[in-house]
């Protein structure tokens, strides 16, 4: 085992897959000469050269659709969108082209593309640099949507995403980039489409992803001192998500909290709750709890009050526990 930061784990995943398969390449703004705006590709340009670590003009639509064309012809692009907010510039590439090309062309083409993008607050970067938009992509048939909460997961999930033959929206979290964690020296994968019970518990199930998994774990720790036993599920893949693991847990705890950094309304948590209410409502012993950012744009100077944290998860858990049904 070795200690590694989340951002460096991303780099290792890309590097290993590029070593393994010469069709894998990275494209995006400042990914080459500069090693990536957040440093995810540091050193890769020196190693793989400008053919495989491709700096682009500022043109998210252009290079994301370019990746679609390249993938149709057998390459395996990794696209870096510098901030998730900028994905608004290439929704057509992703939604009308990449997500649909396989199905729409009668399965003739495969689109093995990974589109990486960091989301969320943490840099006080304000309303146009802090959004969490995963729910959009989860609503689009043809995309997989993956979110990683720690260095171990991010490496294993990213490697799986690169090997996956479907387009994958791979969402990082800016505050996690510096997070340290322990990973094996040897190669490993973390499968897509499987959730993980990150903490076992019996009183309430928290379903979450990305940074909020860590916040939920913190909340669970605090609550355990008060004798509350929280189960924390990390979805890891939002689309297609692992119903089985979630439903099994709710079958045990009979209480549900969903937690994400995105604004609460119309966030991915809503879908989890709706599915539960559709399929296993009778398992619930209390109204569910939801954690998400408030319904306003991300704030610059009030960011710390805007971005949900362990305390918000704790409150949601407590309120679910207080209520019976």
């Amino acid at each position: 085992m070795k200690d590694i930061r989340y951002i460096f784990a991303i780099k290792e995943a890309m590097e290993e897959e590029m070593n393994r398969d010469e069709n894998v390449f990275l494209i995006g703004e400042d990914v080459g000469l500069a090693g990536g705006s957040f440093g995810a590709s540091k050193g890769l340009y020196e190693k793989f050269g400008p053919e495989r670590i491709v700096d682009t003009p500022i043109s998210e639509l252009g290079f994301t659709s370019l990746a679609a064309g390249a993938a149709s012809c057998g390459l395996r692009p990794i696209v870096e969108i510098m901030f998730m907010d900028f994905v608004t510039c290439c929704m057509d590439s992703i939604v009308n082209q990449i997500a649909k090309m396989r199905y729409m062309f009668g399965n003739q083409y495969t689109l093995p593309i990974v589109i990486r993008m960091p989301e969320g607050g943490g840099l006080n970067a304000g309303p146009q640099h802090s959004q969490c938009l995963e729910a959009w992509f989860a609503h689009v048939p043809g995309l997989k949507v993956v979110m990683a909460a720690n260095p171990y997961d991010v490496k294993g999930l990213l490697k799986s995403a690169i090997r996956d033959d479907n387009p994958v929206i791979f969402i990082e979290n800016k505050t996690l980039h510096a997070m340290k964690g322990s990973i094996p020296e040897e190669e490993y994968l973390v499968p897509l489409g499987k959730a993980e019970v990150k903490r076992e518990g019996t009183d309430v199930t928290v379903v979450s992803a990305s940074r909020l998994v860590n916040e939920s774990l913190k909340a669970a720790e605090t609550l355990s001192e008060a004798g509350v036993n929280v189960e924390v599920i990390d979805l890891m893949t939002i689309q297609p998500w692992d119903r089985e693991t979630v439903y099994r847990s709710i079958g045990k705890t009979h209480r549900l909290v969903v937690a994400h950094e995105a604004v609460k309304q119309f966030g991915f948590g809503a879908e989890i709750v709706a599915s539960v209410a559709e399929d296993i409502l009778d398992e619930l012993d209390a109204p569910i709890g939801r954690v998400g950012a408030p319904f306003v744009p991300a704030s610059y100077s009030l960011e710390k009050y805007y971005v949900p944290n362990a305390d918000d998860v704790k409150k949601a858990i407590m309120s679910t526990l207080e209520r019976v049904f």
Partner: protein, 319 residues
């Protein structure tokens, strides 16, 4: 490059006839309700796809538009399977899922028509990128209308291709109309070639003449194959029919339509072939009859082919 061989010239004629007749047939069956959705025909514009695709091998790539039947045929698409797709049938290229706006044939490098104006331009650019990445000497072609050059996708793609000297030929078929509005609504320049100046991409404007297009396309494809980067070709044609079949063209006026129809790139070429004795009247008749039969056969195939089963709708989303 130079002039096409006699064989090529005859083949080009055949292909132009095939596009013309196929689309005339499509208009007919569409009007009967056999084909659903939108149908955009390129009648009057057959010269461009043929002039260009004559330089391409199966391994070369093309990505086209909503008005893409001509390119697909010129690039060698199987007419039966294409018809089946247009009819929404199970054996269609897209399993009947997508129809006219999404014809694609991977085996012949046809990367797809596109329902999004400008959408195919960066995709074709990606194919050129892949060719260069792999050091094959494949070439990619991107076709689009003059209206599409208003989209950011056009700009972003050409900029990148120029910087990376990608092996691609951009073909703008300027047919004077984008849906229901003329050139002047879409740009303040006279020729689309001016757009290329923004990227230092060489550009040329040609008339709707298959031999001229063949010549310019030959140079452009050669440039691309040699690693000298992209070229933009504007083909100045005119749209004979409405934007889609069923468009009453109130915005255009009957005279203009009739005027457009006096310019016939197919008839012009036929005359030239006859005058130069490349073809005899009876060859022409034979070709037309053969193609007519081929199209009839394709339509019958499509008609008889079953629709996909409902259960197939849920298959193949993920690999």
């Amino acid at each position: 490059m130079g002039k096409p061989s006699k064989e090529t010239m005859v083949k080009m004629y055949r292909t132009m006839v095939k596009i013309r007749k196929a689309e005339e047939k499509l208009m007919e069956v569409f009007s009967k309700g056999d084909i659903l959705g939108f149908l955009h025909v390129s009648i009057g514009q057959e010269a461009a796809p043929v002039g260009i695709c004559s330089h391409l091998a199966d391994a070369d790539y093309i990505a086209t538009t909503h008005r893409g039947h001509g390119h697909a045929i010129a690039k060698g698409i199987d007419l039966k399977l294409a018809m089946a797709e247009l009819f929404g049938k199970k054996d269609g290229y897209c399993l009947g899922r997508s129809g006219s706006m999404h014809l694609a044939d991977k085996s012949r490098g046809i990367m797809g028509a596109n329902g999004i104006v400008g959408g195919g331009i960066p995709i074709a650019t990606g194919a050129a990128f892949a060719a260069k990445y792999r050091k094959t000497n494949q070439v990619a072609v991107s076709t689009f209308g003059e209206g599409a050059t208003g989209e950011g996708a056009f700009h972003e793609a050409l900029n990148f291709a120029a910087i990376k000297k990608l092996p691609i030929v951009y073909v703008c078929e300027n047919n004077g109309w984008a849906e229901f509005s003329p050139h002047s609504i879409h740009m303040s320049i006279q020729s689309v070639t001016q757009r290329a100046l923004a990227y230092d991409i060489p550009a040329v404007s040609v008339a709707n003449n298959v031999l001229e297009i063949y010549e310019e396309a030959g140079k452009a494809v050669e440039r691309a194959r040699q690693g000298d980067g992209p070229t933009l070709i504007e083909v100045r044609s005119e749209r004979w029919h409405g934007h889609y079949v069923g468009d009453a063209q109130k915005y255009r006026g009957k005279e203009k339509v009739e005027q457009a129809m006096t310019k016939d790139c197919l008839l012009d070429y036929e005359k030239e072939l006859l005058q130069t004795n490349t073809l005899k009247k009876k060859d022409v008749e034979k070709i037309n009859a053969e193609i007519g039969a081929e199209i009839e056969e394709a339509v019958n195939f499509a008609r008889e082919c079953p629709y996909p089963e409902v259960s197939e709708m849920m298959k193949g989303l993920y690999l």
